[in-house]
């Protein structure tokens, strides 16, 4: 029953977020700040992980292609498919649940325990809109981060494969162009759009409704990471079932 109450309160929070809007002049500043922190601030870690995981995917594929009859362009093909379909949208989103999600929960949670949210409420501000809406807008740019991750993942695979001596550059490039279905990229971006909403709202929920002190901010961040990851994994399954089967 408790989980149903949380789900109900989560949807009420979403409704309130799109309720009375904060003055645009102030909202614009908050959105720009959140774009800087949540999106631009994540590019470094996304680039690092994407490049190296793309490389690992490519090496693992190459090492498992023992049969000499299998064409070498399969390495590029498998790298592209893994990176575009799952690694970039889902794996990076789980990492973002840790990085961006923890930031959102702890920043809103700290505002809660230091009575900053109460101060905003006393002034008559819709705190849901003031705190959560800018994060939703900022993370609507999250598909750009994922496209960056896709590019770097495949590029990392190329570097590892070609410079590791597993296949030629021509084979790899042929592989990444082989049987390309544009809808797969569309599918990845549809998933990403849903994940971005989850990344903005579930951590906000855990921060907004937390009780207690500094220790509880840490606990709320951990719980938020777990539930954001669970929601991403479940939604990933659901969207895949709906769009690819």
């Amino acid at each position: 029953m408790k989980i149903l109450s949380h789900i109900g309160r989560y949807f009420l929070m979403i409704q309130q977020t799109f309720g009375k809007f904060t003055k645009w002049k102030m909202l614009k500043q908050l959105i720009l700040k959140d774009i800087d922190v949540l999106v631009i601030g994540s590019l470094g870690i996304v680039a690092f992980i994407s490049f190296f995981v793309g490389g690992v995917v490519s090496i693992q594929t190459a090492l498992n292609l023992e049969n000499p009859l299998l064409p070498k362009n399969l390495i590029g093909f498998a790298t592209r498919q893994s990176v575009i379909l799952e690694f970039a949208p889902t794996f990076i989103s789980i990492i973002m649940a840790g990085k961006v999600g923890s930031y959102i929960t702890s920043s809103i949670g700290t505002m809660r325990v230091t009575e900053q949210i109460d101060a905003l409420e006393v002034m008559g501000i819709n705190t849901y809109n003031y705190l959560i809406f800018p994060k939703i807008v900022a993370l609507s740019l999250y598909p750009l981060v994922i496209s960056f991750s896709m590019f770097l993942g495949v590029f990392g695979g190329y570097i590892a494969c070609v410079y590791g001596g597993f296949s030629s550059s021509a084979d790899f490039i042929e592989g990444i162009q082989m049987d390309f279905i544009p809808f797969h990229v569309g599918y990845a971006f549809i998933k990403t759009a849903f994940f971005s909403f989850i990344l903005a709202t579930i951590p906000s929920y855990h921060g907004y409704y937390m009780n207690g002190g500094a220790l509880d901010v840490g606990k709320a961040s951990t719980v938020s990471f777990v539930w954001t990851s669970v929601a991403i994994i479940l939604l990933n399954y659901l969207i895949t079932q709906l769009l690819l089967t």
Binding site: T114, A119, V122
Partner: protein
């Protein structure tokens, strides 16, 4: 003026406020005192509208809170200033931005006008060379001054303070108390202060409401508190030897 009639509030069947009635007058510092757990903070949060009351009536300037339209409530909120126990300053903003925040949010004034108004208030609360500093770079006393400045920058009709001098040294605490009293009288604000600091009671207690177990046990002024025979009040107020002696001297006089 704020008037409350028989307000009750419970949490999970535990009655915290059991029917409190009181009147808080304009231009006076109205103190709510009582032991921890007596319901002071819940009472203040009910007045602020952060908690909905279960029953009873709250009137702001003779207008009943429950009967106000949403628009009227929003106007009322902008007429309220609040000084929180921990100051509740916005970490991401410097002192000047914290004070400018309500003006930027609720007025259509130009940035230069907002800055001018903020600086008038900054001067009023005697904050010197702190405009560019962030909350974690200033002392507890300065934080309280910033919180007071932010609370009065919109010229509020009602000022609420929750333990305004907790965590401050006695000298700074008295300065903050006096500042609140001066501002209350100067701007003719209805000020309600939650405190369990007896120095504040003796210093600025123009009207005192004593809460005990969710009920109003006593009310009067700082002069009355010396002569009251109410045992609960005397046990609470004169719990230290120093205050007992102060009372004896006062009564002898």
């Amino acid at each position: 003026m704020i008037k409350v009639e028989n307000i009750k509030k419970s949490f999970d069947d535990i009655a915290v406020l059991k029917g409190i009635s009181a009147t808080f007058e304009k231009g006076k510092t109205n103190l709510i005192i009582g032991q921890s757990g007596s319901g002071k903070t819940v009472f203040l949060k009910c007045l602020l509208g952060l908690f909905n009351i279960d029953s009873g009536k709250i009137f702001f300037e003779n207008k009943r809170l429950k009967e106000m339209s949403l628009a009227d409530r929003l106007v009322l909120r902008q007429e309220m200033g609040m000084v929180f126990q921990g100051s509740a300053l916005f970490d991401s903003m410097n002192v000047e931005e914290n004070i400018m925040f309500p003006l930027g949010m609720f007025t259509s004034k130009k940035n230069s006008e907002i800055r001018d108004r903020a600086n008038i208030v900054i001067k009023r609360v005697n904050l010197i060379n702190a405009n560019e500093k962030y909350p974690d770079e200033i002392s507890g006393g300065m934080k309280k001054r910033v919180a007071i400045a932010r609370a009065i920058v919109m010229n509020p009709k009602f000022l609420f303070c929750d333990e305004p001098n907790s965590g401050l040294d006695p000298k700074t605490a008295i300065l903050i108390d006096n500042l609140i009293q001066e501002i209350t009288e100067e701007y003719q604000i209805t000020t309600v202060i939650n405190t369990h600091d007896m120095n504040s009671v003796m210093e600025i207690g123009q009207k005192i409401v004593f809460l005990r177990n969710g009920l109003k046990e006593w009310e009067g002024s700082k002069e009355d508190i010396f002569s009251t025979e109410n045992e609960a009040v005397t046990n609470f107020v004169y719990s230290s030897d120093l205050f007992k002696k102060v009372r004896e001297v006062y009564l002898k006089k």
